[in-house]
Symmetry: C2
Subunit: 194 residues, 2 copies
């Protein structure tokens, strides 16, 4: 059976859980607490040298890491990965943007506020500024369309919703972003996210 190493509070890990659940895959979830150093142990690093969750281990011992690579692997051939090459490229554009320009600000600010207990004024201003810019970009994109790519839910929506829905825990106000708020509801319904 498939084994998933993940921290249930991590949006990156939840992406994998949500997709596997949605697609009906059986798996064993090994809760892996990133704050306790569980991802830096010798055993863990032998499995995933990047020292990060999520990581999935197949029955034959092969390992795959990086949340967006994992959902890409399981999503291929399903409606959540467009068959059209252009739409698929746009989906990957959002996935790379998510890991470069969204997660490192919004997820990191949320981690510092909600998990390390930092106060608002202890968050690096650049993180806040870049996180706000990321949300403004999403708002502009979603004001004009229901889904980030094409006419239905794709992995782009799944990946972006993971930390956008908890952005307020990082101090980001979604009040001024009505298109994002409607889209979150839509994506949660589309993927059966509780």
């Amino acid at each position: 059976m498939l084994t998933v190493f993940g921290d249930i509070r991590s949006g990156n890990c939840l992406k994998v859980k949500w997709l596997l659940d949605r697609l009906g895959h059986d798996y064993r979830w090994i809760e892996t607490d990133v704050m306790s150093g569980a991802t830096r142990s010798t055993e863990f690093l032998a499995m995933n040298p990047a020292g990060q969750v999520p990581a999935v281990v197949f029955e034959d011992g092969r390992t795959l890491a990086q949340s967006n690579a994992i959902i890409g692997f399981f999503g291929d051939g399903t409606p959540y990965v467009p068959a059209d090459p252009w739409d698929r490229a746009k989906m990957y554009e959002w996935l790379f943007w998510e890991q470069y320009s969204h997660e490192p600000c919004i997820a990191v600010a949320r981690f510092q506020r909600a998990f390390l207990g930092k106060a608002a004024d202890e968050i690096e201003p650049r993180l806040v500024e870049r996180g706000r810019a990321a949300l403004a970009r999403m708002e502009a994109a979603l004001a004009a369309r229901d889904w980030l790519v094409g006419d239905g839910p794709t992995l782009a929506d799944l990946a972006l919703v993971a930390y956008t829905r908890v952005a307020p825990e990082g101090g980001f106000d979604l009040g001024p972003h009505p298109a994002i708020r409607r889209w979150i509801t839509r994506v949660e319904a589309g993927f059966g996210i509780g």
Copy 2:
């Protein structure tokens, strides 16, 4: 004709140039100086709301951004993107790792040293530490194999070589990394990089 907006000093932009050259695509290169604010102009943001290079514009006006999404689009169907789903997933694992754990340390340190003229002791220690960890991970992977994925050059090698070959400009010593040095020569030859 295809138009590429890029800064020729940027490894992310060079990935696109190298692949298009290798595959024999015709394109027009619009040199876009990130340091002059060219990527923040109204015209540029209308084309790529993420405000980043590289970005490619097709003859019909469609735009694609994010270096690894662009090379994925043009690489699909060529030998540089494995047809095997597992190898393709591992290739994307490296591509996402590159943008999350390699570029934000090694390219950023290089930018600060070589372009902003900062001294070694002005680079944030965390950047240096994380960059060294990224190189150590690559050295371990490449000690055991010639290419990052499978038996030949893929986009994983192309993407990772872009900033690894100029890592010394960011203060990272490749001396203790013989497997990386041999791999750089191999990848440059494999993709015809001068």
